[in-house]
Each structure stands twice: as C-alpha cells, then as structure tokens.
C-alpha cells in the first residue's frame, strides 16, 4: 500500500495571506496597531514641541547647567546657591530617596508588628490596632503630614528657650541631644586625625567610612568562615567548638582599634546665635514627613500582613503546634515565610505609594525632588514642560527600580514545587 499521509499543498507566500491566513492575521493586526500607537505618540510629542517652539519656548535642557541661585537647607552632598540647577535636582533627589528609604523601613516595621498584633487573641490589643488602622488609613496623608509638622513645632521648645540661667528647656542624654521645634540635633562622629575624602566627581566619600565598613565586612566574613569550620568539625568529631567569642572579637576589635587610631570623638550640638550648630540635624520637616508617611503607609502594610497570615492554612500552625513548636516560633518559622508570598506584592505597591507620596513634602518645607526641580527650578527658569517631564521620568525610574528589586525578592520566596 502506498503511504497514506496527505502532503499539504506547498503554497508560496503571497501578500494577501497577511490578511486572510489565520497564521499571519494576528501578527498583521499587532504590527498595524503598534504603528498607529507609535505614530500617535509621535504626533503628540511633535505637536507639543512645535507649539512650544511657536510660543518661543522650544524644549531644551541647557538650563540645568545654569546657576540655581537658591539654597537648600538639607543637602546630603555639598551644595550652595552658586551650584547649578542640575546639582540642586540631585540634592532634591537624594532628599526624596532618604525620606522614602526611612519611611519604607519604618512602615514595614510598623506593618509587620501591627499585622501580627491585629490578629492577637488579646481583645484590647487587636482592637487598638484596628483603631489605629482605621484612623490613619481614612484621612488623607497630606493632613497627617501637616498634623505631624504642626504638633512637632508647637510642642517642642524653641531654641531660645535653651538660653539663660534657668532655661525652660534642657538638652537630653548627657547634654548631647537637643530637641527643638526646628528639628532634633544629634551628636556627630568626628575624627581628630581624619583620612580625608575621595572625590568621585559628583560627591565625596569619606575614607573613614569606607575603612570601617570594610573592616566590618571582613569581620563578618571571618565569622561566617569560622562558623563553617565549626560545622565541619562538628560533623567529623561530634563536638562543636565555641565560635561566639572569636566572631565577636573579629567583628568588634578591628573597628575599635581603627577608631581609636583616628582619634574618634563625639561632636555635640551647641546653641550659638539663633539655632544649634554642629551635630547631625534631623530637621522638623524631615521628621514630620517621615512620621506622617510611615504611620499612614504602615496601616496598609498592617492589612497586607494580616491578610497574608490569614491566607496560610490553619493546619500549618496546628501541625507546628503538634510538633511542639512554641507559638512565637511557629509564627516566625512556619506562618510568616508562607504568608510572605501573599504579602510581598502588596508591600511593593505600598513602597511605591510611599515614595510617590513623599512628593507632598513641599507643604511643610522639605526640599525634595518636587520642591527643587519641579518647584523652584521650574519657577525660576519657566521651563514647565522640561522640568515636569524630568520629574516624572525620575519618579518612574525610582518606581521601576523598586518594582524590579521587589520582584526579584518575590521570586526567591516563591513556592517551589517539586
């Protein structure tokens, strides 16, 4: 018998197949839509550029090199009013990142603790957490930031109250911390024999910090190597050598030696003139913004954590309990790791929210990205389109970076099925 397989007719490709052949039609439609969307965007962008040029404001970015001319009180890198708008933008960006980072850390702590407490069997504790969540979540965050700012400035003493024979206010912690309504002044680490800074163009890195971090990392590496060695000895002989003392010594002693060698001492803030000088200053706007954002976003994380915990099958906790694991450890070792899978995606969006909400800073005088680039720079140069596009671009980049790193973390804790 001849072979029964039917050979499909070998057709040569022709253009009408793009429309009538099911194999190609989908592709054709997608390409056409893509071209339409892209040309739509191009038309909008081109139209905007042409019209801006027509009123004498073509899109240009060279104003970023002009002198900014304004001061920023909180600058993590060196800055003064003769620097460029570009550098002012960088200062604002770092202020945004600082408050976003501080806020995310604090909100997470509030959220995890609060989420666990919200499920507490203790009636009072769980109701208090419910109260906290409902109050903070249901009032706009801008109001909370303003409340924090005005409460702080109203309650904390003014710098001039520290003056005189019998001052109305005194410094705390052995005269090293000053709490004023301008901000909190903390003691700063100083070196009498400093090593200097490395100038990497945009900003300077202190060598002392690098050396200390290096020593710390080295100590931790040594401790881990030491623990691995102890594991090996334990496996061979059944007896585990004590590692704790060597680990502590490796981590603690080298930095202390270096600190002494560099002449480490603490610089205390002092009241001179109108304000305290010296020390590390956490300004009132920073504190208010940080508190407001953390307390507000914390409520959402509380809910995320609660829903995460509730999503873990009750049997898991019961099984752990049956094996004799105590409730605290059950939560830590059994429930939370599984809840993490549910919590993380919500956590990511809360981190994004917090970062974006930090742009409310201008209401209380915190100089973030929106206040510098999207605020004073915009107003002084009159380049609305450019500055707003740049501000949007920067926020987009920050958000995408947060999303990207959180997604990687999510993948690591994902349920791996065998």
């Amino acid at each position: 018998m001849a072979d029964q397989t039917i050979q499909p007719p070998r057709e040569s490709f022709n253009l009408s197949m793009l429309l009538y052949d099911q194999r190609y039609r989908g592709l054709t439609i997608q390409v056409v839509v893509l071209i339409l969307v892209l040309s739509g965007f191009f038309w909008l962008a081109n139209n905007a550029a042409t019209n801006l040029a027509a009123i004498g404001k073509p899109i240009r970015f060279d104003f970023m090199d002009d002198t900014a001319g304004y001061d920023i009180s909180q600058h993590l890198i060196e800055y003064n009013s003769t620097d460029s708008h570009g550098r002012a933008t960088l200062v604002g960006l770092m202020n945004t990142l600082l408050v976003a980072f501080m806020g995310c850390v604090t909100a997470t702590i509030i959220g995890v603790v609060g989420g666990v407490l919200r499920l507490s069997n203790n009636w009072l504790v769980s109701r208090l957490m419910t109260l906290y969540v409902e109050i903070f979540r249901n009032v706009p965050v801008l109001l909370w930031i303003l409340v924090c700012m005005f409460t702080f400035t109203a309650l904390a003493p003014q710098p001039r109250e520290f003056r005189g024979e019998n001052p109305e206010a005194t410094m705390k912690m052995w005269d090293s911390v000053a709490v004023t309504n301008r901000g909190i002044y903390l003691p700063e680490p100083l070196f009498s024999r400093p090593l200097g800074d490395i100038d990497i163009g945009v900003f300077k890195i202190s060598i002392e910090l690098l050396v200390l971090l290096g020593l710390l990392a080295g100590g931790i590496l040594f401790a881990r190597w030491n623990a691995a060695r102890a594991n090996k000895i334990q496996a061979e002989t059944g007896e585990r050598p004590t590692t704790i003392w060597m680990a502590v010594a490796a981590i603690v002693i080298p930095p202390i030696v270096v600190l002494i060698a560099l002449g480490f001492h603490v610089g205390k803030p002092e009241l001179t003139g109108f304000n305290f000088q010296g020390g590390i200053n956490m300004s009132a706007p920073l504190i208010a913004l940080w508190l407001g954002l953390s307390l507000y976003t914390g409520t959402y994380i509380v809910e995320a954590v609660r829903s995460g915990i509730e999503s873990v099958n009750k049997g898991q906790a019961e099984a752990a309990s049956a094996l004799g694991i105590r409730p605290g450890r059950t939560m830590k070792l059994v429930v939370l790791p599984q809840a993490l899978r549910v919590i993380l995606p919500q956590l990511t969006s809360q981190y994004l929210n917090l970062t974006k909400n930090s742009s409310l800073a201008i209401a209380i005088g915190y100089m973030d990205l929106v206040a510098t680039l999207g605020g004073i720079t915009l107003n002084q140069t009159g380049r609305e389109m450019e500055t707003i596009l740049m501000t949007m671009g920067i926020y987009l980049t920050i958000s995408l970076l947060i999303s990207f790193s959180m997604t990687r973390f999510e993948n690591r804790v994902k349920l791996v099925e065998r």
């Binding site: 909008l44 962008a45 139209n47 905007a48 042409t50 019209n51 801006l52 027509a54 009123i55 004498g56 404001k57 001319g69 304004y70 001061d71 920023i72 009180s73 003064n80 009013s81 003769t82 303003l146 700012m149 005005f150 400035t153 109203a154 003014q158 001039r160 309504n181 301008r182 001179t272 003139g273 109108f274 304000n275 000088q277 300004s283 009132a284 706007p285 201008i362 209401a363 209380i364 005088g365 100089m367 206040a371 605020g375 004073i376 915009l378 107003n379 002084q380 140069t381 009159g382 609305e384 389109m385 707003i388 596009l389 949007m392 987009l396």
Partner: protein
C-alpha cells in the same frame, strides 16, 4: 497609568500652543469679560471679602480694565494663581493678564516670553521678626531659620543677601502663605521674608501684630506690575495705557468724583485727550472714546486706589514712599497722553 499621565501632559502642551497666539483683545471682547490672574489671597492686594468678592489694590486695576473695555467694572473673572503656576496659566491662555504681585525681572521678561507692561507698585523684599528676638537689623540674622513662601524671586534675593554679607541661614521654603504664616507664628522659624508690601499684610493678619516688627532693610528691588503674553502688543497697549491713565489722572487732579464733569471738556488739552473729548486716543486702542473716563469713574485714580486698599488709613498701613507721584518725589510717572 504612566502613559495616560504622559498623554495628558502632552495634550496640555498641545492646548498650550494652540491658544496662545490669538489676539487677546478680540478674544476678550468676544468673551465679554476679562480673565484676570490674581494672588490666592494677599490682604490689601487681592483677597476675598466677607461676601466672597475679590477686593484689593491689584483687583482694582483689573476692574479699571473691565470698565475701560466694557464699561462694566464687574466684567472681570478673577482667577487665583499660586506663584508657581501663574506663568503657565498665562502662557496657556487661562488668563489674559496677571495682576499678581509679579516682579519684573530680566529673565521673566525675556526668557519666559511674558511681557511686563508697567509697574503698579514699587516693592522690595523685607524681613518680619518677633520683637522678642532682639534684632534690629537684617545684618544680625546670621544663623537664623527663615520662612519663605516658595516659588518666588524671594529665595534668590535671600540667598544673595546672606551670601554677600557672609552669613549663614536655614531656609524653610513652604508651599503656601497660610502654612508659612502658621509655622512662623509657632516659632518654627525666626524670620519671615517676602516683599515688604505683603509683609505688612502678613503682619496685620497675625494674632498679635504688635509683637512683630518689620526690619528696616529692603534687600531687593521688586517692581510689581501687570504681565501679558509676549508678542501681543495690542493687548499690552490696552493694559499699559489703562494703568497709565489712572496714574496720569492722579497727577492731573482727575478723581472718581470729578471725572464725569471733566469728561465734558476742560481747558487742559491733556485731560481732554485722555478723557476723550479731544482727539481719538480711544480708537487707536480699539476702545471707545471714553475708555479712560470709565476706568477712573469705576475705581478712582491711582492715589484713590492706593489709599482705599493699602494706604495709611487701612490695616495694611503702607506709606506712598516710592509709589508717590513723580511730582511728589516718587516713581509713579505716566508718559504723556498725546
């Protein structure tokens, strides 16, 4: 979401381009009212009164313009703008002009594509401090925390002043006047700085004005005046000469009380030309012959506007100073009506 924001920003720019080039005077006449950009609330210059109506020095100039064009000083829509969005609103065509305590500077006039067509108030930046601070000069402010209403030339003058005098300071730039004032009252800053005229208003609105003083130093020149879009000279002329008419009226002794009588003709040819009984100045502006007479009748001359809103008998209590007529040693001077 990301794309939709992008699209709306672009769409805004498209609209911005589309509206700006038209002939403003024709637009205004067709619309039947003027869109006048004013401050969000500076006592004396533009603020809402108890009935929610806008009152103030800047507002009166807008009203005069309404009277000049339409014969109706109420044919004005007041649009409150922050210092940050005022130029955007102007170039996008949301307002026809700004009477918004806006300082005439080189870069705003040249680079921002706006045109300043006059100065209705010669101002300068000053400092407000609590009397308890024990400071009598701005030169003693080294190390002070300074509250600023952000988005103004104020920040730049402040930076310059402290730099030139080798002093340090902590700026606390706050988004709105209300917030800045509240923080100043609570002592979050030692000094409040803005234009001296607005400072008088701020001081008058504090709970205990007597506990605060304005320091003698004026650290900058702040000529405040009406702003229009660059390139529309016809509209610019209308705004410029309406204001000039109010200034000239004071110099020539024309007031809201006697303008109706003088408009019938006097033996002073300049008054006659201005009020329309001689020549055809109004027609040159594409306005009625009695445009200036209507403006003066609606608001009074420059001096009347000043005394009614910010003069020494008001809570603001500003002296004429630089804003006196040139014949009185001030800077207010109108080119001739000829």
């Amino acid at each position: 979401m990301k794309t939709s924001i992008f699209i709306s920003a672009l769409a805004a720019a498209v609209a911005l381009g589309g509206l700006a080039s038209a002939q403003t005077l024709d637009d205004v006449k067709a619309r039947g009212k003027i869109n006048c950009g004013v401050t969000e609330g500076t006592l004396g210059f533009s603020a809402r009164d108890g009935e929610g109506k806008h009152q103030g020095f800047d507002v009166d100039f807008c009203r005069a313009l309404g009277a000049a064009i339409f014969g109706d000083s109420e044919a004005v829509e007041y649009i409150e703008l922050s210092s940050k969005n005022r130029f955007t609103a102007l170039s996008a065509g949301q307002v026809d002009l700004l009477y918004r305590t806006t300082t005439w500077t080189f870069s705003r006039d040249v680079d921002l594509k706006t045109s300043f067509v006059g100065v209705n108030y010669y101002d300068g930046q000053g400092f407000l401090v609590p009397t308890g601070l024990g400071v009598s000069s701005a030169k003693e402010l080294d190390g002070a925390t300074v509250c600023i209403e952000t988005g103004t030339t104020t920040e730049l003058n402040l930076a310059d002043f402290f730099r030139v005098n080798g002093m340090s300071y902590t700026p606390l730039p706050v988004g709105g006047t209300t917030e800045a004032k509240a923080l100043f009252e609570e002592g979050a800053c030692d000094v409040y700085t803005t234009d001296a005229s607005a400072l008088a208003g701020v001081r008058a609105s504090l709970k205990d004005p007597a506990a605060f003083q304005i320091l003698p130093e004026i650290v900058s020149k702040e000529p405040l005046g009406p702003t229009v879009r660059h390139g529309d000279d016809q509209w610019g002329d209308v705004v410029r000469w309406t204001q000039n008419a109010l200034v000239a009226a004071e110099e020539l002794g024309v007031t809201s009380a006697n303008v109706a009588e003088l408009a019938n003709g006097t033996d002073n040819p300049e008054i006659n030309r201005m009020l329309g009984s001689e020549g055809a100045l109004g027609a040159m502006l594409n306005l009625d012959a009695d445009w200036a007479a209507r403006a003066i009748a609606a608001t009074g001359n420059y001096g009347e506007i000043f005394e009614r809103n910010i003069g020494e008998n008001t809570p603001i209590g500003l002296a004429r100073g630089l804003n006196a007529q040139w014949t009185q040693g001030g800077l207010q001077y109108s080119p001739p009506f000829r």
